[in-house]
């Protein structure tokens, strides 16, 4: 399947882009992270410490074991600092 992957804040900077379209057979978010980290050193650096990474699947907060079936947009970002 094809999903849009979005990056925010320092994840965006480390990956070097804000958004990319990805062809994947990943079953969970964690599988997708492994595929992305294997792409190049920038992705690997951005996704090296998953305790510092938060995830949204189709614009809802999700955890690493969330299934990707049917998902269109996966976003990775640091812990939020709103307010």
């Amino acid at each position: 399947m094809v999903v849009d992957v979005l990056y925010f804040a320092w994840l965006r900077e480390r990956v070097g882009q804000a958004r990319e379209r990805v062809e994947t057979e990943a079953v969970t978010v964690r599988d997708l992270v492994a595929e992305l980290a294997a792409r190049d050193e920038w992705h690997a650096a951005a996704l090296s410490d998953l305790t510092a990474v938060r995830v949204a699947v189709d614009q809802e907060l999700a955890d690493l074991d969330a299934p990707l079936a049917g998902a269109r947009e996966i976003a990775f970002f640091p812990p939020m600092t709103g307010g």
Binding site: A56, Q59, E73, A75, P79, M80, T81, G82, G83
Partner: protein, 153 residues
């Protein structure tokens, strides 16, 4: 009963005009950019446009139900905000003060830890560090577990 995400400044007095008609208690919270002793010129606030509005609407509606609010408002800005500028506000209206205070604090705990905003410091030498989430903010929501409308007050 509304949330807004915007780059523009807002005026608390204007936002409160007509807000919470019929309520007995209105609480507002405003967050401002601190200059940190002159070190900080501004904050640059990034957000996740597709998600932010939906998340704020959901937070507000959840708080309204949980605390029996008669009205609520959330405004959160993004972009470059100079020292002293307002970053965001929440307002809550309820029959009594305990519910209005609790709802405002609940919304702030949500916003600090679950709303898709990220802050970066701008100093005299340019864009600096991304503001790190504070451990207290990440954990602050835990205190609301199991609570719903607070009948005390």
């Amino acid at each position: 009963m509304s949330a807004r995400v915007q780059a523009e400044p807002f005026d608390v007095g204007h936002e409160l005009s007509g807000f919470g008609a019929g309520a007995g208690a209105i609480v507002t919270f405003s967050g401002l950019v601190r200059d940190e002793g002159g070190r900080l010129l501004a904050l640059e606030i990034e957000h996740y446009p597709g998600m932010t509005q939906k998340a704020l609407d959901a937070f507000g509606n959840d708080a309204a139900k949980r605390f029996a609010l008669s009205d609520w408002r959330i405004i959160h800005r993004f972009g470059r905000l100079g020292a002293g500028e307002q970053i965001m506000m929440v307002a809550t209206a309820a029959r009594h003060r305990a519910a209005a205070f609790d709802a405002a604090e609940y919304l702030m705990d949500w916003l600090k830890s679950r709303a898709p905003f990220w802050k970066r410091e701008i100093t005299a030498s340019g864009p600096g560090a991304w503001v790190e989430a504070r451990a207290e903010d990440e954990g602050a929501l835990d205190r609301w577990k199991g609570t719903s409308c607070n009948p005390a007050d």
